[in-house]
Symmetry: C2
Subunit: 460 residues, 2 copies
């Protein structure tokens, strides 16, 4: 009786001698003289294919096997044997091939050639059948699970913060409206007729709600979708993306920095270990040197310095920057890249930014001019993590909100966290897709999420 | 130097003799004669508190310690010692107590008494500070992580299907509109002015998109938020909830049933093992017998039978039902409960439902009258999982869509999955909150999600 196994299992030398059942999709067929054919079979369990040897003793060899083309789905029964080829350890000598489905080569859009990423974006439902997008999917899954394991092992509770929200993480970005009213209707309406009885939006961050749980249960994290209704058509922006946001009570900024550094190293290491074949693919075809670059980050100690020190370094660098370097202005990508790529040549954590360029919830330092912000910068991409120690002092927080013209009534519950048993606490956010771009080398963020959402695009 | 540890760690006998730093919130203070006080301290790491012994040798004993009330946040340095009490193994003799934040007992809503769930829903930002909601949060986190571990260990890839969607999992329910147009404006507008250039909605299911990935990569699962814009004010409905949906290529319905049974048993077992103290709390205060009921399910073999057989059993039962039992009608809760609680006294998987009561994507059986649907029913709650083998035959699927009046053009990409290399495949969906209600015994679904969304409610 044939054992049902995956292509990944069948490619291991331990499988040699086994009678197996494999199921998957034909990548290519090559006919040889003497009445036999080679099929490359893939089932998504790994990047590589397994070679199937099909010969004319198969009852359907002429009628079906020789008609198989890229994309056809089949089952193969046969014996795993050592492969004489250098590129694979095993192959399967088929004793039976069953065809589930055909893929008319005149119509099937994925043929054996390289397709542009632009074209593949128009068939997002089929692109996981390619090497690149299969690899992205496996790395995305491995990284997501690594994120969960890291935080669970560190004693953080996974919290689901709301997606539909009436509040706003202080203008983190433009928001989508969520409504049951027809936006195209011309009938007079008022907000009380809407589903929630008031205007509601898609969340831009789970931070504020995560703070409520951290201020009750200690260490928590969210990991869910977040949204920006910005009209950005860049390779770094999506309207819908996934974000992981840890938040920990009794964490000062140094604890937060330690956590972020351990976290990044852990997810990079897990992906390198668990997706070795996929990572070699990206290193070879997408960004040469990728694996070494990740390994260097894992082995490095992140530099930690203040924004003020960074400004000083930049001003004394002798470099010509497009944007001015001046205390009180935000750093631009070129500045961040100078610090990580030229000056320090490793990851940098910048802290203590000017209060005027950071949101209301960041803790004000004793100098009154800076806040306990923290940005983690990586070579080539700049900021990958943004976070802070939060302002836990009710009076200071209220003063900051007044400064910024925020309506305190909208934040009554957030202020309650400071009113009752307030504690020092800190957290940060990592955009999953930015991290995936960094790890895979994929240039366009639309290619590291299954069905990207951007202006004008919500097909599928 | 005191070691910073959690309350959970300090409660274990291994901690005895250690000099520790604990940080958390005061649950109660009790003063004793002779100049000392007992504080119950909780930090969310577990349900139970640790007892702190504070005496008048502390410099701030009179000025601060004796003013501590429920909800105050403190740090405690001291030595863990064996407790003479029967209810706990350890206690901490404080050498220093630092107060982070006060909680004015005149204003702090959580006092030492039982509060109603209704009241606690109005302070969803503070309710995780109670025993019940802390326990729910820990169980929710443990169950969510167990879900990930189960599927990862079974070789499933975690796929993020889109939240904003232009398609619709065939009327699974009313949908929220997502828009950047102001629904209250009276200006004339058309859909092309909206962010995505067409009407878009919040997803009701990731199934269709998960099928695209299963038909490329084999075994996948989604786990994310889903939405229903239904005006339901019940203890079993939310407008926003989390759903896990596995989808596997080359899975027939029997594989799907095996997966669902293994899956439920695994997540119940993990919660019982990993949240033992929380589960004892629910068993004692929320639903007596809970743990035994879960253990029985873990130990049982689920009954499998067809809808038609179930109708026969119900008709011959001699029971008086409120709703009629008739082939072709959907089963009601009373029917499901009769099967699981009285007739079989264990979980039941019902398959092969009449085609007219199930969606277009379920595989039509050879009898032409039934489809390969599968509902997993549990005692007391009825359906907890719904799934099916999917229709992989293009012609049959198109015919079903015509029958139901669906516009095939909207599903072009879904039909492509059958046009090119189609394969038998199956999947199911589990609502996380329904599973949590079952496992904790919590009666109202609004109490098993941090910030519930229901008609008229999107505060916080």
């Amino acid at each position: 009786m044939a054992e049902k196994i995956s292509v990944a299992q069948a490619r291991r030398p331990e499988a040699i001698g086994k009678e197996v059942l494999l199921q998957g999709w034909v990548r290519t067929r090559r006919d040889s003289k003497g009445g036999f054919s080679f099929l490359e079979l893939n089932d998504g369990s790994c990047l590589g294919n397994i070679q199937i040897i099909a010969d004319n003793r198969l009852l359907n060899y002429e009628s079906e096997v020789k008609r198989l083309t890229t994309g056809c789905s089949i089952a193969v029964e046969g014996v795993v044997q050592a492969s004489p080829g250098r590129e694979q350890a095993t192959e399967v000598l088929a004793s039976r091939i069953f065809v589930y489905g055909w893929a008319d080569p005149e119509k099937y859009p994925l043929q054996k050639k390289r397709h542009s990423y632009e074209f593949l974006r128009t068939i997002a439902h089929l692109r996981p059948r390619t090497n690149s997008f299969g690899a992205v999917a496996r790395v995305r899954s491995a990284m997501s699970f690594s994120i969960h394991r890291f935080f669970q092992e560190e004693g953080f509770l996974y919290i689901h913060t709301p997606i539909i929200t009436a509040s706003d993480c202080e203008g983190a970005g433009a928001m989508f409206r969520v409504t049951t009213l027809d936006p195209l209707s011309k009938e007079p309406r008022n907000p009380s007729q809407d589903f929630f009885g008031k205007p509601t939006y898609l969340t831009v961050s789970g931070q504020l709600e995560a703070e409520a749980y951290a201020c009750a249960l200690g260490k928590v994290y969210t990991f869910g979708p977040t949204f920006r209704a910005e009209n950005s058509n860049t390779t770094r922006h999506l309207a819908e993306f996934w974000m992981v946001e840890p938040e920990a009570a009794f964490f000062e900024l140094s604890d937060n920095m330690d956590l972020a550094e351990r976290f990044l190293k852990r997810i990079f290491r897990d992906v390198l270990e668990q997706c070795a074949e996929d990572m070699e693919f990206f290193d070879r075809w997408v960004e040469p040197g990728l694996i070494q670059r990740l390994q260097e980050i894992i082995d490095s100690e992140f530099v930690r310095l203040t924004y003020t020190e960074a400004i000083d370094i930049l001003q004394k660098s002798g470099e010509t920057f497009e944007f001015p370097v001046e205390w009180g202005r935000d750093l631009q990508a070129e500045h961040e890249r100078y610090l990580t790529e030229k000056h320090f040549r490793r990851p940098v954590i910048l802290i203590d930014y000017p209060r005027q360029i950071k949101p209301f919830y960041m803790r004000v330092n004793d100098d009154g001019k800076t806040v306990r912000a923290m940005d983690v910068l990586l070579p080539r991409v700049g900021e990958i993590i943004g976070g802070s120690q939060r302002e836990e002092r009710l009076d200071v927080l209220e003063q900051r909100m007044e400064e910024l013209g925020l309506n305190k009534e909208n934040y009554w519950w957030y202020l309650d966290l400071r009113r009752f048993g307030t504690v020092p606490h800190s957290g940060f956010g990592l955009g999953l897709e930015r991290a995936l771009q960094f790890v895979t080398g994929m240039g366009n963020i639309r290619d590291v999420i299954p069905f990207p959402r951007f202006p004008g695009n919500a097909e599928f």
